[in-house]
Protein backbone atom coordinates (compact mmCIF):
# COMPACT_ATOMS: atom_id res chain seq x y z
CA UNK A 1 0.00 0.00 0.00
CA UNK A 2 1.21 3.51 -0.70
CA UNK A 3 1.93 5.96 2.05
CA UNK A 4 1.86 9.16 0.01
CA UNK A 5 -0.36 11.04 2.42
CA UNK A 6 2.29 11.03 5.14
CA UNK A 7 4.26 13.37 2.91
CA UNK A 8 1.48 15.92 3.02
CA UNK A 9 2.15 18.05 6.08
CA UNK A 10 -0.54 18.81 8.62
CA UNK A 11 -1.94 22.34 8.95
CA UNK A 12 -4.07 23.94 11.64
CA UNK A 13 -6.96 26.04 10.43
CA UNK A 14 -8.20 29.23 12.10
CA UNK A 15 -11.32 30.98 10.86
CA UNK A 16 -12.60 34.51 11.54
CA UNK A 17 -16.36 34.02 11.50
CA UNK A 18 -17.13 37.68 10.95
CA UNK A 19 -15.44 41.04 10.77
CA UNK A 20 -14.63 42.23 14.28
CA UNK A 21 -14.18 38.78 15.82
CA UNK A 22 -10.94 36.89 16.40
CA UNK A 23 -9.73 33.93 14.35
CA UNK A 24 -10.69 30.74 16.09
CA UNK A 25 -9.18 27.28 15.72
CA UNK A 26 -11.62 25.06 13.88
CA UNK A 27 -9.63 22.00 12.81
CA UNK A 28 -6.77 20.64 10.78
CA UNK A 29 -6.05 19.19 7.36
CA UNK A 30 -3.28 17.81 5.16
CA UNK A 31 -1.95 19.88 2.26
CA UNK A 32 1.26 20.14 0.25
CA UNK A 33 1.79 23.86 0.80
CA UNK A 34 0.22 26.96 2.32
CA UNK A 35 -1.71 27.94 -0.80
CA UNK A 36 -3.29 24.50 -1.10
CA UNK A 37 -3.99 24.43 2.63
CA UNK A 38 -5.89 27.71 2.34
CA UNK A 39 -7.95 26.47 -0.56
CA UNK A 40 -8.75 23.19 1.17
CA UNK A 41 -9.62 24.99 4.39
CA UNK A 42 -12.08 27.08 2.38
CA UNK A 43 -13.71 23.90 1.01
CA UNK A 44 -13.67 21.88 4.22
CA UNK A 45 -14.48 24.49 6.87
CA UNK A 46 -16.42 27.32 5.19
CA UNK A 47 -18.95 25.68 2.87
CA UNK A 48 -21.74 27.69 4.49
CA UNK A 49 -20.14 31.11 4.80
CA UNK A 50 -18.74 30.29 8.24
CA UNK A 51 -15.86 32.69 7.69
CA UNK A 52 -14.56 35.90 6.17
CA UNK A 53 -10.87 35.16 6.72
CA UNK A 54 -8.76 32.03 7.17
CA UNK A 55 -5.32 31.43 8.66
CA UNK A 56 -3.43 28.19 8.10
CA UNK A 57 -0.40 27.35 10.22
CA UNK A 58 1.92 24.33 9.89
CA UNK A 59 1.03 22.14 12.88
CA UNK A 60 4.73 21.56 13.49
CA UNK A 61 5.15 25.30 14.13
CA UNK A 62 2.89 25.23 17.18
CA UNK A 63 4.41 25.03 20.63
CA UNK A 64 1.99 23.66 23.19
CA UNK A 65 2.03 23.57 26.96
CA UNK A 66 1.86 20.04 28.31
CA UNK A 67 -1.00 18.76 30.48
CA UNK A 68 1.36 17.38 33.13
CA UNK A 69 2.74 20.88 33.62
CA UNK A 70 -0.73 22.26 34.13
CA UNK A 71 -0.31 22.70 37.88
CA UNK A 72 3.01 24.49 37.92
CA UNK A 73 2.04 26.46 34.86
CA UNK A 74 -1.41 27.70 35.76
CA UNK A 75 -1.91 27.25 39.51
CA UNK A 76 0.15 30.28 40.56
CA UNK A 77 -2.77 32.43 39.40
CA UNK A 78 -5.20 30.47 41.57
CA UNK A 79 -4.53 32.21 44.91
CA UNK A 80 -4.37 35.74 43.54
CA UNK A 81 -8.02 36.50 44.00
CA UNK A 82 -7.16 40.18 44.58
CA UNK A 83 -6.77 40.39 40.80
CA UNK A 84 -10.54 40.22 40.46
CA UNK A 85 -12.82 43.20 41.02
CA UNK A 86 -15.13 41.13 43.24
CA UNK A 87 -12.33 40.91 45.86
CA UNK A 88 -13.06 44.48 46.91
CA UNK A 89 -16.23 45.48 48.72
CA UNK A 90 -17.42 48.97 48.07
CA UNK A 91 -20.30 50.67 49.97
CA UNK A 92 -23.64 50.45 48.13
CA UNK A 93 -24.09 54.20 48.06
CA UNK A 94 -21.08 54.49 45.74
CA UNK A 95 -23.19 52.89 43.04
CA UNK A 96 -21.69 51.22 40.02
CA UNK A 97 -17.89 51.13 39.94
Amino acid sequence: MTTELTDWPLWEVFVRSKQGLEHKHCGSLHAVDAAQALQMARDVYTRRQEGVSIWVVPSSAITASAPENKAEFFDPAGDKIYRHPTFYSIPDEVGHM
Partner: protein
Protein backbone atom coordinates in the same frame (compact mmCIF):
# COMPACT_ATOMS: atom_id res chain seq x y z
CA UNK B 1 -9.52 18.00 13.65
CA UNK B 2 -7.06 18.97 16.32
CA UNK B 3 -3.66 17.87 15.38
CA UNK B 4 -1.72 14.81 16.28
CA UNK B 5 1.46 16.81 15.84
CA UNK B 6 0.86 18.16 19.33
CA UNK B 7 1.03 14.61 20.61
CA UNK B 8 4.29 13.54 19.09
CA UNK B 9 7.02 13.59 21.75
CA UNK B 10 9.75 14.59 19.29
CA UNK B 11 7.82 17.69 18.26
CA UNK B 12 9.95 20.79 17.81
CA UNK B 13 7.66 22.66 20.18
CA UNK B 14 8.71 20.54 23.12
CA UNK B 15 12.39 20.94 22.38
CA UNK B 16 11.84 24.68 22.32
CA UNK B 17 10.03 24.90 25.62
CA UNK B 18 11.77 22.10 27.44
CA UNK B 19 8.40 20.94 28.72
CA UNK B 20 8.22 17.25 29.29
CA UNK B 21 5.62 15.47 27.28
CA UNK B 22 2.71 13.19 27.99
CA UNK B 23 2.59 9.67 26.66
CA UNK B 24 5.64 8.35 28.43
CA UNK B 25 4.40 8.40 31.97
CA UNK B 26 6.66 6.58 34.46
CA UNK B 27 5.07 3.40 35.85
CA UNK B 28 4.58 4.97 39.27
CA UNK B 29 2.52 7.73 37.69
CA UNK B 30 0.22 5.40 35.79
CA UNK B 31 -1.93 4.79 38.85
CA UNK B 32 -2.21 8.53 39.44
CA UNK B 33 -3.01 9.11 35.76
CA UNK B 34 -5.65 6.39 35.85
CA UNK B 35 -7.17 7.95 38.95
CA UNK B 36 -7.26 11.34 37.24
CA UNK B 37 -8.88 9.74 34.18
CA UNK B 38 -11.49 7.92 36.30
CA UNK B 39 -12.30 11.11 38.17
CA UNK B 40 -12.72 12.91 34.84
CA UNK B 41 -15.12 10.18 33.68
CA UNK B 42 -17.05 10.39 36.97
CA UNK B 43 -17.43 14.12 36.53
CA UNK B 44 -18.42 13.67 32.87
CA UNK B 45 -15.45 15.84 31.94
CA UNK B 46 -13.46 16.01 28.72
CA UNK B 47 -10.28 14.35 27.52
CA UNK B 48 -8.05 16.23 25.09
CA UNK B 49 -5.41 14.73 22.76
CA UNK B 50 -2.42 15.42 25.00
CA UNK B 51 -4.05 14.02 28.13
CA UNK B 52 -3.22 10.61 29.52
CA UNK B 53 -5.81 7.97 28.61
CA UNK B 54 -6.02 4.19 28.99
CA UNK B 55 -4.91 2.32 25.86
CA UNK B 56 -8.31 0.63 25.57
CA UNK B 57 -10.04 4.04 25.52
CA UNK B 58 -7.68 5.23 22.79
CA UNK B 59 -8.17 2.04 20.76
CA UNK B 60 -11.94 2.11 21.06
CA UNK B 61 -12.04 5.71 19.90
CA UNK B 62 -9.69 5.13 16.97
CA UNK B 63 -11.84 2.22 15.85
CA UNK B 64 -15.13 4.04 16.25
CA UNK B 65 -14.05 7.39 14.76
CA UNK B 66 -12.25 5.82 11.79
CA UNK B 67 -15.21 3.54 11.07
CA UNK B 68 -17.39 6.60 11.20
CA UNK B 69 -15.06 8.44 8.79
CA UNK B 70 -15.01 5.47 6.41
CA UNK B 71 -18.82 5.42 6.46
CA UNK B 72 -18.95 9.07 5.39
CA UNK B 73 -16.53 8.49 2.51
CA UNK B 74 -18.12 5.24 1.30
CA UNK B 75 -21.52 6.87 1.81
CA UNK B 76 -20.71 9.30 -1.00
CA UNK B 77 -21.05 6.46 -3.52
CA UNK B 78 -24.72 5.38 -3.42
CA UNK B 79 -25.88 8.98 -3.81
CA UNK B 80 -23.04 10.07 -6.05
CA UNK B 81 -24.38 7.58 -8.58
CA UNK B 82 -27.44 9.81 -9.00
CA UNK B 83 -25.77 13.19 -9.51
CA UNK B 84 -25.71 12.82 -13.29
CA UNK B 85 -29.31 11.63 -13.33
CA UNK B 86 -30.94 14.09 -10.93
CA UNK B 87 -34.30 15.19 -12.39
CA UNK B 88 -33.62 18.95 -12.29
CA UNK B 89 -30.77 21.42 -11.95
CA UNK B 90 -32.04 22.31 -8.47
CA UNK B 91 -31.97 18.69 -7.28
CA UNK B 92 -28.57 18.19 -8.88
CA UNK B 93 -27.10 21.20 -7.05
CA UNK B 94 -28.60 19.98 -3.75
CA UNK B 95 -27.25 16.47 -4.25
CA UNK B 96 -23.76 17.70 -5.14
CA UNK B 97 -23.74 19.85 -1.99
CA UNK B 98 -24.87 16.90 0.10
CA UNK B 99 -22.28 14.50 -1.30
CA UNK B 100 -19.60 17.16 -0.79
CA UNK B 101 -20.74 17.46 2.84
CA UNK B 102 -20.26 13.71 3.31
CA UNK B 103 -16.70 14.07 2.06
CA UNK B 104 -16.21 16.96 4.47
CA UNK B 105 -17.59 14.92 7.37
CA UNK B 106 -15.10 12.18 6.55
CA UNK B 107 -12.29 14.74 6.71
CA UNK B 108 -13.41 16.15 10.09
CA UNK B 109 -13.50 12.63 11.48
CA UNK B 110 -10.19 11.43 10.05
CA UNK B 111 -8.59 14.53 11.59
CA UNK B 112 -10.22 13.76 14.96
CA UNK B 113 -8.95 10.17 14.81
CA UNK B 114 -5.46 11.36 13.87
CA UNK B 115 -5.23 13.24 17.19
CA UNK B 116 -5.13 9.80 18.82
CA UNK B 117 -1.84 9.00 17.10
CA UNK B 118 -3.09 6.95 14.15
CA UNK B 119 -2.11 8.27 10.73
CA UNK B 120 -4.49 8.89 7.85
CA UNK B 121 -2.64 6.23 5.83
CA UNK B 122 -3.04 3.58 8.47
CA UNK B 123 -6.76 4.19 8.51
CA UNK B 124 -7.11 4.24 4.73
CA UNK B 125 -4.95 1.14 4.39
CA UNK B 126 -7.19 -0.69 6.87
CA UNK B 127 -10.25 0.34 4.87
CA UNK B 128 -8.73 -0.62 1.52
CA UNK B 129 -7.51 -3.96 2.83
CA UNK B 130 -11.04 -4.75 4.04
CA UNK B 131 -9.93 -4.83 7.68
CA UNK B 132 -11.89 -1.77 8.76
CA UNK B 133 -15.67 -1.68 8.84
CA UNK B 134 -18.07 1.00 7.72
CA UNK B 135 -21.82 1.35 8.12
CA UNK B 136 -23.60 -1.67 6.62
CA UNK B 137 -26.28 0.58 5.11
CA UNK B 138 -24.02 1.73 2.28
CA UNK B 139 -23.81 -1.78 0.89
CA UNK B 140 -27.32 -1.55 -0.50
CA UNK B 141 -27.98 -0.27 -4.02
CA UNK B 142 -29.82 2.96 -4.94
CA UNK B 143 -32.17 1.66 -7.63
CA UNK B 144 -34.40 4.69 -8.25
CA UNK B 145 -34.46 8.45 -7.66
CA UNK B 146 -36.76 7.83 -4.68
CA UNK B 147 -33.87 6.00 -3.00
CA UNK B 148 -31.97 9.28 -2.88
CA UNK B 149 -34.87 10.87 -0.99
CA UNK B 150 -35.22 7.89 1.35
CA UNK B 151 -31.50 7.97 2.15
CA UNK B 152 -31.86 11.60 3.20
CA UNK B 153 -35.02 11.06 5.21
CA UNK B 154 -34.36 7.69 6.85
CA UNK B 155 -30.63 6.94 6.62
CA UNK B 156 -29.54 10.45 7.55
CA UNK B 157 -32.40 10.63 10.04
CA UNK B 158 -31.07 7.50 11.76
CA UNK B 159 -27.54 8.89 11.59
CA UNK B 160 -28.66 12.11 13.32
CA UNK B 161 -30.37 10.09 16.06
CA UNK B 162 -27.09 8.26 16.60
CA UNK B 163 -24.85 11.31 16.31
CA UNK B 164 -26.56 13.85 18.54
CA UNK B 165 -25.54 12.04 21.76
CA UNK B 166 -21.98 11.84 20.38
CA UNK B 167 -21.77 15.64 20.51
CA UNK B 168 -21.38 15.11 24.27
CA UNK B 169 -18.69 12.44 23.93
CA UNK B 170 -15.88 12.71 26.51
CA UNK B 171 -13.22 12.90 23.82
CA UNK B 172 -13.04 16.59 22.88
CA UNK B 173 -12.00 16.39 19.20
CA UNK B 174 -14.68 13.78 18.44
CA UNK B 175 -17.37 15.78 20.21
CA UNK B 176 -16.40 18.95 18.33
CA UNK B 177 -16.40 17.15 14.98
CA UNK B 178 -19.84 15.74 15.76
CA UNK B 179 -21.26 19.18 16.58
CA UNK B 180 -20.12 20.43 13.20
CA UNK B 181 -21.50 17.34 11.45
CA UNK B 182 -24.89 17.44 13.19
CA UNK B 183 -25.39 21.06 12.11
CA UNK B 184 -25.01 19.96 8.50
CA UNK B 185 -26.95 16.68 8.70
CA UNK B 186 -30.20 18.50 9.31
CA UNK B 187 -30.08 19.83 5.74
CA UNK B 188 -29.51 16.27 4.51
CA UNK B 189 -32.59 14.90 6.18
CA UNK B 190 -34.86 17.78 5.24
CA UNK B 191 -33.86 17.82 1.57
CA UNK B 192 -34.59 14.09 1.36
CA UNK B 193 -37.99 14.40 3.00
CA UNK B 194 -38.93 17.37 0.83
CA UNK B 195 -37.82 15.47 -2.27
CA UNK B 196 -40.16 12.61 -1.30
CA UNK B 197 -43.02 15.02 -0.52
CA UNK B 198 -42.67 16.41 -4.04
CA UNK B 199 -42.83 12.91 -5.51
CA UNK B 200 -45.85 12.01 -3.39
CA UNK B 201 -47.69 14.98 -4.91
CA UNK B 202 -46.87 13.65 -8.37
CA UNK B 203 -48.19 10.78 -10.46
CA UNK B 204 -49.27 7.36 -9.18
CA UNK B 205 -46.05 5.92 -10.60
CA UNK B 206 -43.97 8.41 -8.64
CA UNK B 207 -45.90 7.64 -5.45
CA UNK B 208 -45.37 3.94 -6.01
CA UNK B 209 -41.67 4.58 -6.49
CA UNK B 210 -41.46 6.27 -3.08
CA UNK B 211 -43.35 3.44 -1.37
CA UNK B 212 -41.13 0.86 -3.02
CA UNK B 213 -37.99 2.65 -1.85
CA UNK B 214 -39.34 2.90 1.72
CA UNK B 215 -40.17 -0.81 1.67
CA UNK B 216 -36.68 -1.75 0.56
CA UNK B 217 -34.80 0.53 3.01
CA UNK B 218 -36.85 0.39 6.21
CA UNK B 219 -35.46 -2.74 7.82
CA UNK B 220 -31.86 -2.02 6.89
CA UNK B 221 -32.22 1.43 8.43
CA UNK B 222 -33.50 -0.07 11.70
CA UNK B 223 -30.48 -2.39 11.71
CA UNK B 224 -28.15 0.65 11.41
CA UNK B 225 -28.43 1.19 15.17
CA UNK B 226 -26.57 -2.05 15.71
CA UNK B 227 -27.35 -5.35 17.45
CA UNK B 228 -29.92 -5.53 20.29
CA UNK B 229 -28.64 -4.44 23.70
CA UNK B 230 -28.47 -8.03 24.93
CA UNK B 231 -25.95 -8.77 22.16
CA UNK B 232 -23.83 -5.65 22.67
CA UNK B 233 -21.15 -6.67 25.14
CA UNK B 234 -19.14 -3.46 24.74
CA UNK B 235 -21.99 -1.14 25.65
CA UNK B 236 -21.24 -1.03 29.38
CA UNK B 237 -17.63 0.02 28.86
CA UNK B 238 -18.49 2.57 26.18
CA UNK B 239 -21.16 4.00 28.48
CA UNK B 240 -18.70 4.24 31.35
CA UNK B 241 -16.35 6.17 29.05
CA UNK B 242 -19.06 8.55 27.91
CA UNK B 243 -18.64 7.41 24.31
CA UNK B 244 -22.08 5.86 24.22
CA UNK B 245 -24.88 7.80 25.87
CA UNK B 246 -27.95 5.88 24.73
CA UNK B 247 -28.13 2.14 23.97
CA UNK B 248 -28.73 0.70 20.48
CA UNK B 249 -32.29 -0.32 21.30
CA UNK B 250 -32.94 3.02 22.99
CA UNK B 251 -31.89 4.95 19.89
CA UNK B 252 -33.81 2.59 17.61
CA UNK B 253 -36.97 3.14 19.63
CA UNK B 254 -36.59 6.93 19.46
CA UNK B 255 -36.10 6.69 15.73
CA UNK B 256 -39.22 4.57 15.20
CA UNK B 257 -41.31 6.89 17.36
CA UNK B 258 -40.05 9.95 15.48
CA UNK B 259 -40.50 8.40 12.03
CA UNK B 260 -44.06 7.06 12.28
CA UNK B 261 -45.74 10.50 12.23
CA UNK B 262 -43.39 11.65 9.44
CA UNK B 263 -44.43 8.66 7.31
CA UNK B 264 -48.07 9.54 7.91
CA UNK B 265 -47.62 13.11 6.68
CA UNK B 266 -45.72 11.81 3.68
CA UNK B 267 -48.48 9.33 2.90
CA UNK B 268 -46.44 6.13 2.91
CA UNK B 269 -46.75 3.00 5.02
CA UNK B 270 -43.85 1.42 6.85
CA UNK B 271 -43.47 -2.26 5.85
CA UNK B 272 -44.00 -3.81 9.29
CA UNK B 273 -47.33 -5.47 10.17
CA UNK B 274 -46.31 -5.51 13.85
CA UNK B 275 -45.71 -1.77 14.01
CA UNK B 276 -48.30 -0.21 16.32
CA UNK B 277 -48.69 2.25 19.17
CA UNK B 278 -48.48 0.68 22.61
CA UNK B 279 -50.53 2.64 25.14
CA UNK B 280 -48.91 0.93 28.11
CA UNK B 281 -45.31 1.76 27.16
CA UNK B 282 -46.22 5.02 25.40
CA UNK B 283 -44.10 4.03 22.42
CA UNK B 284 -44.37 1.98 19.24
CA UNK B 285 -43.94 -1.79 19.16
CA UNK B 286 -42.22 -3.05 16.04
CA UNK B 287 -41.39 -6.37 14.40
CA UNK B 288 -38.26 -8.51 14.48
CA UNK B 289 -35.17 -7.39 12.56
CA UNK B 290 -33.41 -9.95 10.39
CA UNK B 291 -30.01 -9.97 12.09
CA UNK B 292 -28.66 -12.70 9.84
CA UNK B 293 -28.90 -10.35 6.91
CA UNK B 294 -27.31 -7.58 8.95
CA UNK B 295 -24.31 -9.72 9.90
CA UNK B 296 -23.94 -11.08 6.38
CA UNK B 297 -23.72 -7.50 5.12
CA UNK B 298 -21.33 -6.41 7.87
CA UNK B 299 -19.14 -9.38 7.09
CA UNK B 300 -18.78 -8.50 3.44
CA UNK B 301 -21.63 -10.37 1.79
CA UNK B 302 -24.16 -7.60 1.22
CA UNK B 303 -25.38 -6.70 -2.27
CA UNK B 304 -22.75 -4.00 -2.94
CA UNK B 305 -19.82 -4.62 -0.55
CA UNK B 306 -17.37 -5.56 -3.30
CA UNK B 307 -18.48 -2.78 -5.61
CA UNK B 308 -18.20 -0.07 -2.90
CA UNK B 309 -14.77 -1.12 -1.74
CA UNK B 310 -13.56 -1.69 -5.30
CA UNK B 311 -14.66 1.81 -6.31
CA UNK B 312 -12.96 3.31 -3.26
CA UNK B 313 -9.65 1.51 -3.85
CA UNK B 314 -9.66 2.35 -7.56
CA UNK B 315 -10.31 6.04 -6.84
CA UNK B 316 -7.41 6.05 -4.40
CA UNK B 317 -4.95 4.54 -6.87
CA UNK B 318 -6.26 6.47 -9.87
CA UNK B 319 -5.72 9.63 -7.84
CA UNK B 320 -2.15 8.80 -6.94
CA UNK B 321 -0.70 10.90 -9.77
CA UNK B 322 -2.63 13.95 -8.53
CA UNK B 323 -1.13 13.60 -5.05
CA UNK B 324 2.32 13.03 -6.54
CA UNK B 325 1.99 16.04 -8.83
CA UNK B 326 0.87 18.30 -5.99
CA UNK B 327 3.86 17.25 -3.92
CA UNK B 328 6.29 17.70 -6.81
CA UNK B 329 4.86 21.15 -7.55
CA UNK B 330 5.17 22.21 -3.90
CA UNK B 331 8.77 20.97 -3.77
CA UNK B 332 9.68 22.87 -6.93
CA UNK B 333 8.03 26.08 -5.71
CA UNK B 334 9.95 25.79 -2.48
CA UNK B 335 13.25 25.18 -4.28
CA UNK B 336 12.63 28.16 -6.55
CA UNK B 337 11.83 30.42 -3.60
CA UNK B 338 15.02 29.35 -1.83
CA UNK B 339 17.08 29.95 -4.96
CA UNK B 340 15.66 33.43 -5.36
CA UNK B 341 16.35 34.21 -1.73
CA UNK B 342 19.96 33.05 -2.02
Amino acid sequence: MYTQALDIPEGSGDAATGLKHSGQVPAADVAASQAWFDATMDADGKIEPQDWMPEAYRKTLVRQISQHAHSEIIGMQPEGNWISRAPSLKRKAILIAKVQDEGGHGLYLYSAAETLGTSRDQMLDALHAGKAKYSSIFNYPTLTWADVGVIGWLVDGAAIMNQIPLCRCTYGPYARAMIRICKEESFHQRQGYENLLTMMRGTAAQQAMVQDAVNRWWWSVLAMFGPPDVDSPNTAQATRWGIKRISNDGLRQRFVDATVPQAKVLGVTLPDPDLKWNDATQQHDYGTIDWNEFWATVNGNGPCNKERLGTRVKAHYDGQWVRDAALAYAARQKARAMKEAA
